[in-house]
């Protein structure tokens, strides 16, 4: 096995929340040296969420679960950007870095003079990525929103729910999990380009645009046919039956998706060819779509007697697409995820043992994985300031008491 892909790559990260840190976690998972600039004066709001220890502010910021989970294998340096030397420290680290990533609102980096135009002068082949909700340009670029708003604006909320009722998802505010994947793609491509040509790049990602790009099929349909995708519950235009059905246990379900007429015949057979489904019009997709309420009801009455995992194996063996609905506890036990080593269990100073989750792809020759939970606030100040910026311990102590490294 060769070394991790990004071993030796130097990354400077500014910003907060989920979307920014997730995009650089793909790099740290492959060995990149990622330094996060933070400050106790304006902490990343993830450090204030879901804290385990809340007796002091310092403990709270170091024991926040979500921060620890989304910032694995990164280092933390505290720099007070309100201090007159704050921006200068960042500029010196930019000269060290190959890549700068930030996900602030578009006015923040210019306020500190840390634009790509300025930083490129210090480091001509710099790759820099910005990833905010709406992008760096345009009339609404300063609009402040979180993932819930991104999901609504990009059109994903509208298509999730029951017809005639309010939207109910998709769970997890899709822009927060989708946009980091595209940011990481663009960064990796820019680094590859730099390696081949010596040229840097500035990358401006709008989280909403990544979602709209993904939904190209809906946009094209709207533009070409003036047809709008609607909330359909679990139903599908091109597959039926296509729904979730109750199984034994409280709130336990199985998903069944019949894509072809052959699968329909196989499903009926597994159900013992019930009288209620004995109708030749159901042998075509059109007929099944027409009668799907009745078909759903019949399947649900049958499925409720089965354990969801047993029913899944039985149907899959018969050539019918089926999958048990997993909850968080099931995921930790899921044999396919565990076969792939999805969960990496690491010890955190305050959280104890926790499951950290790897991305969905494996590289046969480059390994990858996590070694350490997200850093404590300022955990790596001394290491970074002495080794990279050449400060002495006495200077660090003095500048810390002068409120620079806090």
């Amino acid at each position: 096995m060769t070394e991790r892909v990004f071993k030796g790559l130097k990354v400077l990260e500014l910003g907060a929340g989920a979307a920014g840190p997730i995009s650089t976690r793909y790099l740290s998972e492959q060995g990149a040296h990622v330094i996060r600039i933070e400050s106790a004066h304006r902490p990343d709001f993830l450090r204030l969420m879901m804290a385990v220890k809340t007796d002091t502010m310092a403990e709270r910021m170091d024991s926040a679960l979500m921060f620890a989970l989304l910032n694995t294998d990164k280092q933390s340096l505290t720099v007070n950007m309100k201090h007159e030397q704050g921006a200068d420290i960042v500029r010196r680290l930019v000269q060290w870095a190959d890549l700068v990533c930030e996900n602030f609102s578009p006015k923040v980096m210019p306020k500190w003079g840390l634009t790509y135009e300025n930083l490129k002068k210090l480091k001509p082949d710099l790759v820099m990525a910005s990833g905010c909700l709406f992008g760096q340009t345009g009339p609404d670029r300063l609009y402040p929103g979180f993932g819930g708003q991104g999901t609504a604006l990009s059109g994903f909320a509208y298509v999730t729910g029951w017809p005639g009722r309010e939207t109910v998802g998709p769970f997890g505010t899709i822009t927060d999990s989708l946009s980091p994947k595209y940011v990481a793609c663009a960064i990796a491509a820019a680094l590859f380009h730099r390696r081949r040509t010596g040229e840097g790049r500035y990358i401006d990602v709008s989280q909403i645009e990544t979602a709209v790009y993904s939904m190209s099929a809906a946009i094209v349909r709207q533009s070409a046919n003036n047809e709008t995708e609607e909330r359909r519950g679990n139903h599908d235009e091109f597959a039926a039956p296509h729904n979730v059905y109750p199984t034994t246990g409280d709130d336990r379900w199985i998903a069944i998706a019949v894509q072809t007429d052959t699968e329909w015949t196989a499903l009926k057979k597994e159900m013992g060819n019930p009288e209620a489904l004995n109708n030749s019009s159901y042998d075509s997709l059109e007929g099944r779509v027409e009668a799907q309420e009745h078909i759903d009801k019949t399947i649900g009455e049958w499925s409720q007697a089965f354990d969801r995992n047993e029913l899944m194996s039985k149907l899959q063996a018969a050539g019918v697409e089926a999958g048990a609905l997993n909850n968080q506890a099931d995921l930790l036990e899921d044999p396919a995820l565990n076969h792939r080593g999805h969960f990496v269990w690491l010890e955190h100073k305050y959280l104890g043992r926790a499951a950290f989750e790897r991305p969905g792809f494996r590289l046969s020759e480059s390994g990858g994985g996590f070694d350490k939970p997200g850093p404590l606030l300022g955990e790596h100040n001394r290491e970074i300031l002495t080794k990279i910026l050449g400060y002495t311990i006495a200077e660090i102590d003095r500048l810390t008491s002068e409120e620079l490294f806090v």
């Binding site: 999990s177 401006d204 946009i219 792809f361």
Partner: protein, 404 residues
Amino acid sequence: MLSGIRVLDLTCERGFLAGKILGDMGADVVKIEAPTGDAIRQRGPFLAGKEGPERSLPWLALNTSKRGITLDLDQPDGQDVFRTLAKQADIVLESFQPGLMKDRGLGYAALVADNPKLIYCAISPFGQDGPYSHYNAHDLVIVAMSGNLQMTGDPDRPPIRCTMPTSYYHAAPEAVLGIIMALYSREDSQRGQFVDVSMQETHTSTLLCHTGNYSVDGVINHRAGYRVGPSREVWKVKDGYISYGLRGGPTRVPNLVATVEYMDETGCAPEWLKNYNWKNYDVFSMTSEEIAPLEEAFGSFFETKTRAELFEESVKRRIMLAPCNDSAEVLAHRQLRSRDLFVTLDYPELGASIEHPNFFAKTTGNDVRIRGKAPKLGEHTDAVLQEAGISTEKVSALRQQGVI
């Protein structure tokens, strides 16, 4: 950024987007279809509702920036042609059931023996091996197994999926990321590698950190419909729905205060709300009795406004409120249009002009953009086979045999 990189794209609908991303970033992507054409060409929705292999809208949307050839990979001569192409390619990208390419003698091990620099990426529902690798699955089943489905929907109703196949959308950029990482490391090693993508695994990321949380606190979360935690997140307004949260914290309280000011200016803020003490406000520690009057006050205000009015004021006042847009509204959005997100492609042979999202990132090199329309069935077969050094006579023979 990916110029000069040759991709052989064998994907079905589960992987179209991955090939498109590579093509839109400048790679030379050759889409390979069976001579009968990809299944999606037979499935709608079709342009203007009229069936035809060149009229499938999902085909046109998700195969831009690709050239297209037909090749029967189940015939020995077709397999030979594929081996020739793979010798000259950088990347093979496929989304078949695991094992199918190996059964054809075209698995990674066979291809890499002839081309050690080859990168082979396989996208499958559950990965190339393991207990579920032989399971068949499309979006609904993948979303179920990823944990997302159980969490989406109303608490008193069955779980629900997004109408659009989100699991395909999550798998594609992770597959591309894996491929580019392999390209990057190939610069040193001069060797390719296998990129094994599990769609279930990529989609677990939609839970953000909820599974990790469970590993620490043992709390299983339940779907909460239009709520996030204890408070409403989706609200009815005059002409549809909006997304707006009553959550607190330093980043959100100023937006709550700004909303109350806006309400007050239109005469809709009750006295008690104007004097509300937002210091230390935390909705997660409040009872439903304490939250109810807030929801009542905000909700009855929102109902007097349209989505456009509310969004306009929200941009001005820095309020975190957003309309739940449908695809027509997304297409018309002034911010997206100001950034030239949409590009019009002309299809003169179909009598249509269609707008497509043009990029997922803006870069200083203008590196991400649609390079060309989705290919017609077999449109580039002759050109691609000729480039590969296959003689005109051989191409004619293959065509007669029905291999291409």
